[in-house]
Symmetry: C2
Subunit: 172 residues, 2 copies
């Protein structure tokens, strides 16, 4: 039986940090340097982040994280792949996330998409996420995807991956 792999969207497939930085630059007229946001929660580093995330179009236009399409398509052959994304806080994001996945990851069926508030409810064998708040409650193997907000945090019991090629090396 295939193992069930649970993959997060923001910070793992979608480059939410770069997108927040771009929205922040548009608002402030200045691009924040990595030193200004590294090690901080995104909603702290970018004061308008919650408003950006709640606005129409934000999630639909998020940029991709490098190599995510190529590696996820291969993983989809070897695992029972589910995309599990925190989304119900921002109702406009819901349909946008489904449309974004359909555009960039057309091999993922709507049957394999979960939009939630808390990920404590999901079960599976492997989880890839950039937030400890999701990984810490998961019973299976946990891969911490490096993002500026978690860069300086101790890995804890999780295996850290910096890129999708790191994920490929561990899971393919």
């Amino acid at each position: 039986m295939m193992k069930r792999l649970i993959v997060d969207m923001d910070g793992v497939l979608a480059d939410a940090c770069a997108h927040f930085a771009a929205y922040d630059e548009r608002e402030t007229g200045r691009r924040k340097t990595p030193a200004e946001f590294t090690g901080k929660p995104e909603f702290t580093a970018f004061p308008g982040a919650r408003q950006y995330a709640g606005s129409a179009g934000f999630f639909r236009t998020a940029p991709l994280i490098a190599d995510s399409q190529k590696v996820l398509e291969q993983l989809n052959q070897r695992y029972e792949l589910y995309i599990v994304s925190s989304a119900t806080e921002f109702p406009l994001s819901l349909a946008e996330k489904v449309a974004w996945l359909a555009e960039h990851f057309p091999f993922i069926s709507w049957r394999r998409i979960v939009l939630c508030g808390s990920k404590q409810i999901v079960r599976g064998d492997v989880m890839i996420d950039d937030h400890f708040g999701n990984l810490d409650f998961f019973e299976g193997r946990t891969l911490l995807f490096t993002q500026p907000h978690n860069l300086h945090a101790p890995d804890g019991r999780h295996e850290r991956v910096h890129t999708w090629n790191d994920v490929a090396r561990l899971l393919l």
Copy 2:
């Protein structure tokens, strides 16, 4: 620790069958009798059902199932309550379901809403659902909520409840 209770929306909180019947009547000019749809999958009994479910406003205007608000509010005090609804097939339904819950069940936080394709991924202690396809895969206690489509089916390993007062008697 509180037990985790997973509650379905359509056919359990929202009277999807009555709503399909009303849409069908609007289209055909005649209200189907219960004998015409009882024992049949809704997407068979109401030929336009998939189109209705995909249209704007369908889920936002669904009628409530009797006593669901009163009993669910009490259950929310005693259980870690999650609403888990199949929804990703119909992207317009996503934000509508969140808004519908906020209107009729304001005590349910966005943190406790899960919109998915398959419910095989969720774990918990008790599930209330009207579909065998969801209950059969659940590891915990399972309550089959009576709906016309499941009325003649054998209960299998599930406990059948006909009303929210039945649920209250079993779980409160």
